[in-house]
């Protein structure tokens, strides 16, 4: 009996060596441990043993069973792992194939950059004002110290609706409307569409966008104008950008200036972008003309202020290297997708 059990164990060990699949393992289990398996049969024949022999043989039977069960479990685990590895191997894909994209729209590049500019000014405590595009001559010109017959009117070719109504040529009339309706302190920007009767080409458009800025309070100085616009330029173009304030003339500011930044393309050494100047003009600004304050009912002996105007299209063109203004208004997806 003892020999028989030892032989079963040896047979089992040998058989296990040849098993390569879960199926074979199951047949093996049935062969050795099943109801009709050889170990069960060996157990059945224990009936013929003496009472003295029984405990020793019983223990041996259990040992062999435990041994086989343990072996089956080990092998089963191993086979599971192998099978999983095989499956994973089969599931290998070409990870360089194109991804499945969800459709995604985008803001117009003019809006994207405008958002960026407004965020900078909002961060500095500005609110956003708006005004009509079809505007009174009074707000667009007269209240801005550009009376009828003033030569400055010639530099802004104007679309008229009638003698007193026009398409605003600048966002500056919003300044007047804001000052008429609000007491200082005033700190606003006013982005919007403006119109000039320029025929369309790569650098001209009868419609474009400006961002007007206005600050009015007690004790505002030209130094404040410089500081604010310096900070704006550094936020927009980076800390290393240099600024230059150059005298200019606008009828509604005095003193007036244009602001140049060091050319971002060549760092100021001169290149095609800046026409070898090293500087690029980005906006016009100045101290609000005392006459303009008075027209709006603000006492110019108590209050002062500064104003500025930024051309959005030119800012966006510089940002992305766009060389044709017309693209903004054609709305070709091949263009819009790029930003």
């Amino acid at each position: 009996m003892k020999d028989r059990l030892i032989k079963i164990k040896e047979q089992a060990s040998a058989a296990l060596q040849n098993i390569t699949s879960k199926q074979e393992l199951e047949s093996f289990r049935i062969e050795f441990l099943g109801k009709k398996g050889c170990l069960t049969e060996a157990l059945r024949s224990m009936g013929g043993l003496s009472a003295e022999e029984r405990p020793a043989i019983g223990k041996l039977v259990n040992d062999v069973r435990s041994f086989i069960e343990a072996e089956i479990e080990t092998l089963s685990d191993r086979l599971d792992k192998e099978e999983l590895l095989k499956k994973l191997e089969q599931e290998k894909i070409d990870i360089t194939m194109p991804g499945k994209k969800r459709p995604l729209g985008k803001r117009h590049p003019l809006t994207t950059v405008l958002d960026e500019l407004t965020d900078i000014f909002i961060g500095m405590g500005f609110t956003i004002a708006e005004g009509p595009e079809i505007e009174l001559d009074y707000y667009n010109f007269e209240a801005l110290n550009i009376p009828k017959g003033h030569p400055a009117r010639d530099t802004q070719d104007t679309f008229y609706i009638n003698d007193s109504v026009l398409l605003r040529t600048q966002t500056s009339p919003v300044q007047i409307r804001v000052m008429e309706n609000n007491k200082p302190p005033i700190k606003i920007i006013a982005p919007g569409r403006v119109y000039r009767s320029d025929a369309v080409d790569a650098t001209h458009s009868p419609l474009f966008h400006q961002i007007e800025g206005l600050v009015v309070d007690k004790g505002i100085t030209m130094g404040d104008l410089k500081g604010t616009l310096d900070a704006f330029c550094k936020k927009l173009y980076g800390e290393s950008i240099k600024t230059r304030f150059r005298p200019h003339h606008f009828p509604f500011t005095e003193p007036s200036c244009e602001l140049d930044i060091s050319c971002p393309a060549c760092n100021g050494s001169g290149c095609r972008v800046c026409k070898d100047e090293g500087w690029i003009e980005i906006l016009g600004a100045g101290m609000v003309h005392p006459k303009v304050l008075e027209i709006c009912g603000i006492d110019s002996s108590v209050y002062s202020g500064f104003a500025f105007g930024i051309g959005l299209e030119r800012t966006v063109m510089r940002r992305f290297g766009i060389d044709d203004l017309r693209l903004f208004y054609e709305n070709d997806l091949r263009f819009l997708r790029q930003f």
Partner: protein, 783 residues
């Protein structure tokens, strides 16, 4: 304004300053120098030469072959020019030469080699007009000399951009003054000396100014024994360097003085002035004259003219007339130097469509004191050039000269305004150099500075000479303002966020359109706002709807074969009837799309999701079958608070055809204001349910013309605390359903917040719903 630097140097010594430094300094002190250039900058490898021989071209009648001596070397040049003869001196662009508009390379002309080109004046950039034939140089021209040296094209010329408030700087003297102040150097203008040679001007002419408001000053002198001749070389060169063509000594003198003093002048042939009279008056209505440019002009009473006893002889301050023009035979001339009202000159020049160097100066407002000085300078030049003799006496008809302005001068105010700490001495020196008379608490403004009116103007003068960039930058610390966007601006952001995340691209289109857009849209003409002076019909009216703009954008994309296109615009429309004659400007949201799998439900889905992002989940929707822009069977109108909030649907095929879009396109137009008015953006947390839901399907057969919205309205109205939601999952028409009916299947979800529902509870609600549907819509349960 173009000025050769040597001319400036006549008044202020700048010889030691490099052109680059000069440009930078003047730009930063307020006289912007656009560039400094030499006329010869773009002329390389062009030399003087002499034509030795001219032979016929063997194969071309219109060409000749020339042998040209270019200084010790003879080159063969083939040309089509005919104005030269053997022995003539010419400018030769050799092989590899550069001219302003081209590069010259040797080549074959009808089989004969040519090693360069003989240049005309326009090819050398010496004149803008097209020259007749090549330029013939004087016979004693030395050969092989660089043409830039020979023609003196090496002068540095500054191109200034002068702002409209500084007409005084439209002159060499004005710019020399700015130069002197910028560099802190001396500057002086000599008073011109006129040598009179007897006679009395009163015997030649009388002057009457009928409209002194339009002509505050009229000065003139008479020159007799005039000898019309070419100007001397130095004057020609200065004029040409300044961009003015030389004509003859008298005309050149008027131009020279205009450039130098900034005072436009005019010369009349005295013999042509009838009645020995100059009358400065408004033109009579319908009066005619032909100006020097050969244009016949009909005048009106708003235009000031210079007339003789009978007729106009010049448009005041703009251009002279042909009838009194200087001729080669002119013996006696009248020099006019006057001051005209800027606004009037501007209006007349605009009306005539004629802007001249003269009108451009007058319209900015000139110093009334300039007229006599310039007149004397012109006569001084006449004497200097030997161009005639000055009759004794000046006529000067002058309205009272306004007193010089005296304005307050307060260094403290200026420093406070600028944010600086500039001492009084610096300010005084700067202002004195600019010819202000500085007093204790005020300054007297020079008469040529009409732009200076108050303290802010003085601050600018100080600041630009002190240096804008030396003003310390400070950050304004005032009352803290709370920056941010308005509710409306935040709503615009929300629209952009929602629609871009749904795959729509934002577009920006023109606000003006063609009136034909209404035809293209099948719409009747709207009562739109017209632009009085449009660029063209295409952009002549302000749009009252933005649908056309969106369809045009779709058409552009269709044209470029972009396959799936989803666009939106936050578009402004303009309607009559605003306050004070202005427009009612309203924003609409236009969504437009075409592409694969795009149908009515795609555009509806977008609108619904946009509404949801505004917290709007309930709205009325009705079919709209009579909208001419849209398909009659695939169009809906959505209402909010009983107001029309949106129209959406498929574009009518005939409209698509008008826009040349050969694909089904879908558009929605949403009223932005109404959306804003109805928004519900406050969000409140609802606890997540603790008890399970019960789901039941409801499959119905209803008549074909019942729309699902009416089913849903009934389901919603059935009173129940436990109906949580329902959703459509199938609509079927076909074999298994009776003709004229369709099958509609919903999934309904029931839930109670405080307990698990029993079947009985759910059944009872389902029964109620079904019976309502049976009764109201003739619905049957599908078995």
């Amino acid at each position: 304004m173009r000025v050769p630097l040597s001319w400036i140097n006549d008044y202020v010594d700048i010889e030691d300053i490099s052109p680059r430094d000069y440009a930078a300094a003047l730009t930063m002190s307020g006289s912007m120098v656009e560039r400094i250039e030499c006329r010869g900058d773009n002329i390389i490898n062009v030399v003087t030469g002499r034509i030795l021989k001219i032979k016929r071209h063997p194969d071309a009648d219109k060409l000749v072959v020339c042998e040209v001596d270019v200084g010790g070397e003879t080159v063969q040049i083939v040309t089509g020019a005919t104005n030269m003869k053997e022995g003539d001196c010419v400018a030769v662009a050799k092989d590899g030469a550069t001219l302003p508009d081209k590069k010259i390379k040797k080549g074959m002309l009808r089989g004969v080699e040519s090693f360069g080109m003989m240049c005309s004046e326009d090819e050398l950039g010496l004149t803008k007009e097209r020259a007749e034939g090549i330029m013939i140089l004087p016979p004693d021209t030395p050969l092989g000399v660089d043409i830039r040296d020979y023609l003196e094209l090496n002068e540095n010329i500054a191109e200034f951009e002068i702002t409209s408030n500084r007409p005084d700087c439209l002159s060499v003297i004005g710019l020399a003054r700015e130069t002197a102040v910028t560099f802190g150097r001396g500057f002086s203008v000599k008073t011109p000396k006129v040598t009179e040679s007897g006679g009395d001007i009163k015997d030649f002419i009388s002057v009457e100014v009928l409209d002194p408001d339009l002509c505050p000053r009229y000065c003139c002198r008479v020159v007799k024994n005039v000898r019309i001749a070419p100007s001397p070389a130095w004057m020609k060169k200065r004029l040409e360097d300044s961009g003015v063509r030389s004509i003859n000594n008298i005309v050149d003198i008027t131009n020279y003085v205009m450039l130098e003093y900034g005072q436009p002048m005019h010369a009349f042939d005295l013999k042509t002035l009838e009645g020995g009279k100059i009358i400065v008056r408004r033109a009579a209505e319908g009066e005619r004259m032909t100006t020097l440019d050969g244009e016949k002009r009909e005048l009106d009473t708003d235009t000031l003219v210079i007339a003789d006893g009978r007729r106009p002889v010049a448009l005041a301050g703009i251009m002279g007339g042909e009838n009194s023009e200087i001729q080669d035979t002119t013996a006696t001339i009248l020099f006019e130097s006057a001051n005209f009202n800027g606004i009037s000159v501007r209006a007349s020049a605009k009306k005539a469509g004629l802007r001249t160097e003269s009108s451009a100066r007058f319209e900015k407002g000139l110093d009334i004191n300039l007229a006599p000085a310039a007149l004397d300078r012109a006569c001084e030049l006449v004497c200097e050039l030997g161009a005639g003799e000055i009759v004794s006496g000046v006529i000067d008809v002058c309205a009272p000269i306004p007193q010089k302005k005296e304005i307050a001068f307060d260094p403290d105010y200026i420093n406070k305004f600028l944010g600086t700490d500039i001492d009084r001495e610096f300010m005084e020196n700067a202002l004195t150099a600019l010819e202000f008379e500085v007093r204790e608490k005020s300054v007297v403004v020079p008469s040529f500075r009409a732009d200076i009116e108050g303290g802010a103007d003085l601050a600018e003068e100080i600041a630009r000479l002190y240096g804008y960039n030396k003003i310390p930058s400070t950050l304004y610390i005032g009352a803290a303002t709370l920056g941010g966007k308005s509710e409306k601006q935040r709503a615009e952001d929300l629209i952009r966020d929602t629609l871009t995340s749904l795959g729509f691209y934002e577009i920006i289109t023109y606000s003006f359109v063609s009136p034909k857009i209404y035809d293209k849209l099948n719409l009747p003409k709207d009562d739109y706002i017209e632009i009085a002076n449009p660029l063209g019909e295409e952009q002549s009216i302000m749009r009252t709807t933005a649908i056309g703009s969106a369809l045009e954008a779709l058409a552009v994309n269709y044209n470029h074969r972009n396959e799936n296109v989803s666009l939106f615009e936050l578009a402004t429309t303009y309607k009559k009837g605003g306050e004070k004659g202005l427009a009612i400007e309203k924003q609409e949201i236009v969504i437009a799309m075409y592409g694969d799998d795009t149908d009515y439900y795609s555009i509806k889905g977008a609108v619904e999701q946009l509404f949801e992002s505004f917290g709007i989940n309930n709205y009325d929707i009705e079919p709209e079958s009579n909208n001419p822009v849209f398909h009659p069977g695939q169009t809906a109108v959505i209402s909010l608070r009983r107001k029309r909030a949106a129209v959406l649907g498929r574009i009518h095929p005939s409209v698509l055809k008008n826009f040349e879009i050969n694909k089904q396109a879908y558009v929605a137009v949403i009223d932005f204001d109404l959306l804003l008015e109805c928004k519900k953006l406050e969000k409140k947390y609802k606890p997540l349910p603790k008890y399970p839901a019960v789901t039941r399907d409801l499959a119905l057969v209803v008549p074909d013309d019942v729309n699902v919205r009416s089913i849903e309205d009934i389901v919603k109205k059935v009173k129940s605390d436990i109906t949580e939601s329902f959703s459509l999952f199938d609509v079927y028409k076909g074999k298994q359903v009776e003709e004229g009916f369709k099958s509609v299947a919903y999934s309904l979800t029931f839930r109670a917040l405080d307990r698990t529902l029993t079947d009985d509870e759910v059944n009872s609600v389902m029964d109620k719903i079904l019976s309502e549907l049976k009764q109201k819509l003739n619905a049957k349960l599908r078995l």
